[in-house]
């Protein structure tokens, strides 16, 4: 294909007429066919963040623990003793809806590469999943496929999938969310960056051969779905976890010696984005000889080689003179390694094909000059206020119903399919605590991780909802005994071309920023996924948060379950529960109505500090935060782990159902053998705390004054909770 290009061709490349005109202006001529492809992917929303970039600047990204903030393949924080924790979360939403197994699998592969590209050994994976309503005809197929794909990839590659969460809501019927987070560890002084430096240094291609899979994947991920989305299957990549495992070992071995100047994985937009991003960061240029790229299909064109999103591939810039050692190591792992180009000082991205130049454009035009939009914003209409909700006659029956809601029910069906113990570092397994915990290898330290976001709260108030998502992730990490330290985020939104959606995105970013400032947890990496929308219907705004916390002694980790009888049950934190946006309200009325719970930055900080101080004094024997389903669900879940019941007395003057099932962030059920000391710690931090009752027996009893609200055997409460997910898929 040669210029001039028809408007149809330009549109198929995801470029507007204005954007195409900008391309011609920047390079002073019409682009060649491969150049058009290169601009198409690098200027896509997925790669260029063109709608979000102006807002992302408002996030706090620095702090004493931050070694590397956003802009590299992953964020890096200081974990002490010379160790660093490297982590990032990324979405693979569009591909996972089209082809759930491969979409989810390659999502895991991609985020792992982002982490080991930095020189880190991956030690943990987490997955935050959002599916449509449980009775939507597509939901079972999507759940089965996504979970199978995550397990198929993560299990084989030998990185434990230690945590995550899954929620179900009609807003995700046509656009599921698959957000994968990888966490790795490295020596703090051995972090590798995506740089192409040193004129004349050779550029090596390492890993799988290139095929035609995933061409224009980044462009697809930057559009909303229409009726034809199913026909997009060829743009989904195919994963090979065995090759990824070899690639991890080969890369870490190469990085153990002083051979590399820079390294970057070939993710979205493949060879194009990896090379241009490296050159852009270094202000250098690159000359690639495309005929040297290893291929697995015949007659591949320069256009296809540049845009293929074949998986398990890396680009390395080696120090001239040390190539042979690099080749020897990679070859020993049975992987392809080819010199495909050199670093130049021209500032241009040049590709040749058997001697003929087919791409020659300034790197800056591709990266720095990508369009940035301050898209119009308009406040979304305020959702309706909570209306009439009759107090249920049988609160125990309501609790049983809530526990069996797929968003609340046990996720064992999911995590049983993930190897969560490989690498022998998992100190707190999925389902056992509010956060997952792995040991920092060779030390006594622990890394705690939590992911999540309540999209309903964000739909009601994106700013408050996003702040609450940060807060809940922090509370989860503090519950197990770790100090919340930094976050990665994955901002999942509908089409930015709708002013209400842009407003939601902007508000959510402000909410994240506010909570991160309050809790001293900067944003060190992240990803934006827009156009999560089908035929004009968008998802709830879902700014997923992945929190990482650190603890000095991993042996002091605490789970969520009541450990034994005859302990005091204390509720720490005093936020007032509300019905707005709650799972209970959805169960009772089927409606989304507000307002959501409030976010109080000062109380949030004080509550986290209370928990950490209580842990330090050995006062916490178990801790579990009240989340979806409120206090009653949290209490029941505390009983399930070790079959320990409890007798609880709540004090309050409001409605019984609001007290039991209303939601608010920052309330934690703690079991302790020294309740008075715990109350004193809370008082010192200005955080309300109250003794609720004692553990023991085989029933959960909850009363208020003289009235019995709930009195049920733990085994009976557990039944529906334990099997709901399997029932849903039947």
């Amino acid at each position: 294909m040669k210029p001039p290009y028809t408007p149809e061709i330009i549109r198929q490349h995801g470029l507007t007429a204005d954007e195409y005109a900008r391309v011609e202006r920047l390079i002073g001529r019409a682009p060649t066919w491969p150049e058009l492809g290169v601009f198409s992917v690098l200027w896509s929303e997925h790669c260029a963040y063109k709608s979000s970039r102006v807002h992302l600047r408002r996030l706090p990204t620095t702090g004493p623990k931050v070694i590397q903030g956003p802009g590299e393949n992953a964020g890096v924080i200081d974990a002490g003793d010379g160790w660093a924790v490297v982590f990032k979360m990324e979405s693979h939403n569009h591909p996972s809806y089209i082809e759930p197994y491969q979409g989810a699998a390659t999502g895991v592969g991609g985020i792992l590469r982002d982490v080991f590209t930095m020189g880190a050994r991956p030690v943990a994976l987490l997955d935050a999943l959002r599916f449509g309503r449980p009775d939507h005809p597509k939901t079972p197929h999507l759940v089965e496929g996504v979970v199978h794909g995550i397990g198929g990839y993560g299990n084989c590659v030998g990185v434990p999938t230690v945590g995550g969460d899954a929620m179900f809501d009609a807003s995700y019927d046509g656009n599921i969310l698959v957000n994968a987070m990888a966490v790795g560890v490295a020596r703090a002084d051995r972090i590798f960056l995506g740089r192409a430096e040193g004129v004349g240094n050779p550029v090596f291609y390492v890993g799988s051969k290139t095929g035609r899979d995933g061409i224009h994947g980044a462009t697809m991920a930057s559009e909303e779905f229409g009726e034809d989305s199913e026909s997009r299957r060829p743009t989904v990549q195919v994963g090979d976890p065995f090759t990824e495992k070899l690639l991890i070992e080969a890369c870490l071995e190469v990085m153990g010696e002083d051979l590399l100047v820079g390294i970057q994985d070939m993710g979205a937009a493949g060879l194009t984005s990896s090379s241009c991003e490296m050159a852009s960061r270094s202000g250098s240029g690159l000359h690639l000889k495309l005929e040297a790229v290893p291929v697995r299909e015949s007659n591949m064109t320069p256009y296809e080689l540049l845009l293929s999103e074949s998986q398990e591939r890396m680009l390395m810039v080696c120090e001239r003179g040390r190539e042979q050692r690099l080749i020897d190591i990679v070859t020993r792992w049975g992987l392809d390694v080819c010199e495909v180009g050199t670093v130049t000082d021209t500032g241009r991205f040049v590709c040749s094909w058997h001697g003929e130049v087919v791409v020659d454009v300034p790197v800056a035009a591709l990266v720095d000059d990508a369009p940035k939009y301050e898209r119009p914003m308009r406040a979304a209409t305020t959702p309706p206020a909570v209306g009439e909700v009759p107090v249920p006659a049988d609160l125990g029956a309501t609790l049983v119903q809530l526990l069996a809601r797929p968003s609340i029910a046990s996720k064992r069906w999911i995590y049983r399919q993930y190897d969560h113990m490989v690498r022998t570092g998992t100190a707190l397994r999925p389902g056992d605590g509010d956060a997952a915990v792995v040991r920092l290898p060779e030390t006594r330290r622990g890394i705690a991780m939590s992911v999540g976001c309540n999209g309903r709260q964000c739909a009601l108030d994106p700013r408050v909802g996003a702040a609450l998502a940060v807060y809940e992730a922090a509370i989860n990490v503090a519950c197990v005994g770790a100090r919340p330290t930094a976050i990665t985020d994955c901002l999942n939104f509908a089409s930015p071309e709708r002013p209400e959606v842009m407003w939601q995105l902007s508000q959510a970013i402000d909410g994240i920023a506010e909570a991160c400032r309050a809790l001293d947890t900067p944003v060190v990496s992240g990803n934006v996924s827009l156009y999560n929308e089908t035929e004009g219907r968008g998802i709830h705004p879902t700014p997923m948060i992945g929190m990482v916390g650190l603890m000095d002694d991993v042996a002091t980790v605490r789970g969520a379950a009541f450990p034994s009888a005859d302990l005091a049950v204390v509720l720490v934190g005093g936020a007032a529960p509300v019905l707005g946006g709650s799972e209970y309200l959805l169960l009772a009325t089927g409606e989304l109505a507000g307002p959501p719970p409030a976010f109080d930055a000062a109380q949030a900080r004080a509550t986290i500090e209370t928990l950490l101080a209580a842990h330090a004094d050995g006062l916490v024997l178990s801790a579990h935060d009240c989340s979806e389903g409120g206090l009653a669900v949290a209490l029941a879940e505390c009983c399930f782990g070790r079959d320990v019941g409890a007798a609880i007395a709540v004090v309050g003057e409001g409605r019984d159902d609001v007290m039991l099932f209303g939601e608010a962030q920052g309330r934690v059920v703690v079991a302790t053998d020294r309740p008075d000391a715990l109350l004193a710690v809370a008082a010192k931090h200005g955080v309300p705390a109250a003794i609720l009752g004692r553990t023991g027996g085989d029933r959960l009893r909850v009363r208020c004054a003289e009235r019995t609200l709930i009195d049920a055997p733990v085994a009976e409460l557990r039944r529906g909770w334990a099997t709901a997910l399997e029932e849903m898929l039947r």
Binding site: N155, C156, G158, R416, R423, A427
Partner: protein, 230 residues
Amino acid sequence: MRFAVVSFPGSNCDDDCVRVATEVLGETAWKVRHDERDLRRPDVVLLPGGFSYGDYLRCGAIASLSPVMEAVAAFARAGGPVLGICNGFQVLTESHLLPGALLRNAGLKFICEDAHVRVDGRPTPFTAGVQGVLRLPIAHNEGRYHADADTLARLEGEGRVVFRYCGPDGTVSDAFNPNGASANIAGICNEGGNVVGMMPHPERNAEPLLGNGQGRALFDAALRLVGGAR
């Protein structure tokens, strides 16, 4: 004591086995690559879990053909203690160092959780002096032990079923069979008793932080036996 841990491309529990031998037991351990033929004079050989060669063919099938397995077979023939864990068990059956085969789990899904196993049968280098019920993690997609009736009868008759899935109190029944294995078999040994294959992962519960530490008993048994023989 000296542990050789065989490392195939795709093995992913090799580091864990080395870790238990060195950091938990304080002994010596090293990895031997799939293309090496010299085990470097170990006292014990461990075949670790993982997905050797991606398990894209039958699990363990390609690994059984790799050069290092000739050395492992020779070591086993000479009476050397060999423990195959998970994928290592699959490699041992594919190599015919142990009878039978590991088929896809009855539920057709990967299973990762704790299982209880009863130590049964004759003593082996890894179970001598170990009694009762152990809680050990399992993590596999193809863990359903299968053999023909004659082989099963021989295994039972010769006391070569060394681990059986059971309840916490040792009850062996279908209710405690996670993958549909014949006769709840979780692990077996060869005629000589020196080669043991098991689906559960003792190395994943060899210290209290990771559970209750009961997996260590198998490594301690080997230490007693080999240490005592020296």
